[in-house]
């Protein structure tokens, strides 16, 4: 019996050790954590309220709103955000959640697409993602996404820029240690779109990635580029199973 207990204990500790992934939330100061925990304090809720309003507004030549087809986002959009980026049949390429919102806007509302990082698209994205808060990130097992993910992992491990650094060197090799005064997170995109105190506003994962490209003094790919899409696909796969926190707050 004792031996069995010991064996079980070893097995369990092995399982725990096998997954030592943690969200950046765990590394934040209690004050910033409190900002994310309370919807009354989380400044991202300003964008969420805007997204909620846009969801109900009729737009485009079709004169339809998101709500006319999808109903109440709090129910109909539950479980949607953790699946993105996902493969899109008509365009034959993966789409991010923001890309899906834009595609829906162009195809079904027959309205012009939103500008990348505009308040409207970030608000809608946050409103849709908030319906899935707490659900595990669940990247689809679509085989057509595999080459994109492989490309994303290549980019993640490739040294770039004047500083000659790869994402993996900091976010795997040095995660948990410090760069200047800040803790280096493992880089799991669990809370996008999120309110970053440094930005004093809401931003997407692509904005964060472009910031990292600038940080290592490499040329940042454009919003919606294949490189950022591939990286996003790989990072979501890497974070599979972690709880979605959108809209999160980060320092």
């Amino acid at each position: 019996m004792k031996r069995l207990t010991l064996l079980l204990a070893v097995l369990v500790s092995g399982l725990v050790a096998a997954d030592d992934r943690r969200s950046g939330f765990a590394d934040m100061t209690p004050a910033v954590q409190a900002l994310q925990r309370g919807d009354a304090q989380n400044p991202a809720m300003l964008w969420v309220r805007g997204g909620e309003a846009t969801w109900g507004q009729r737009a485009g030549a079709a004169n339809r709103s998101c709500a006319d087809c999808h109903g109440d986002a709090r129910q109909s959009m539950r479980g949607v955000a953790p699946r993105y980026p996902a493969f899109d049949e008509p365009s034959g390429a993966p789409l991010t959640l923001a890309g899906r919102i834009d595609a829906c806007r162009v195809r079904h509302q027959q309205a012009p697409a939103f500008a990348p990082e505009s308040e409207a698209v970030l608000g809608l994205e946050a409103w849709v993602a908030m319906a899935s808060r707490g659900l595990p990130i669940a990247p689809p097992a679509d085989p057509r996404l595999a080459p994109w993910r492989a490309q994303g992992e290549r980019l993640y491990r490739q040294r770039i820029g004047q500083l000659d650094l790869a994402c993996a060197q900091c976010h795997e090799g040095l995660a948990g240690r410090r760069l200047g005064g800040s803790v280096i997170p493992q880089g799991h995109p669990t809370g996008y779109p999120l309110y970053r105190l440094e930005w004093q506003g809401l931003g997407s994962l692509q904005r964060r990635l472009r910031g990292c490209f600038n940080g290592v003094r490499a040329e940042a790919p454009a919003y919606g580029s294949a490189e950022l899409l591939a990286l996003e696909l790989y990072l979501m796969q890497r974070a599979a199973g972690l709880a979605l926190e959108s809209p999160a707050v980060r320092p």
Partner: protein
């Protein structure tokens, strides 16, 4: 897009018992000390004053300065003997004005 604000009060408010009012306003709080990418000074655009009134009576006020971050969050405590309409007013540069009203019923 129109200015938005979040106002949060506890669900149940009791007569004579202190409660916290939390208010966040969407505002850039541009300090007036920064330059744009072409080197031009960005004109100051901040919220100068926040006032909370119950009916006509001033119950809380704050002066704001450029050191306050964007989307300012203000929280204060109130203890009321009578309910009424709480009016929160933010005023600032370039004639900025935003008002939120909350009806307060005491249990």
């Amino acid at each position: 897009m129109a200015t938005r604000a979040l106002v949060h009060l506890p669900a149940v408010l009791r007569r004579g018992e202190a409660f916290e009012v939390r208010a966040t306003l969407q505002h850039p709080m541009e300090t007036g000390y920064r330059r744009d990418s072409d080197g031009r000074m960005l004109p100051r655009d901040i919220v100068r004053r926040f006032e909370a009134r119950l009916g006509t009576e001033l119950v809380f006020a704050a002066d704001c300065f450029p050191a306050i971050a964007a989307n300012p969050y203000l929280a204060f405590w109130l203890r009321l003997d009578e309910g009424g309409t709480l009016e929160l007013r933010w005023t600032g540069d370039r004639g900025f004005q935003h008002v939120e009203t909350v009806a307060i019923a005491l249990a």
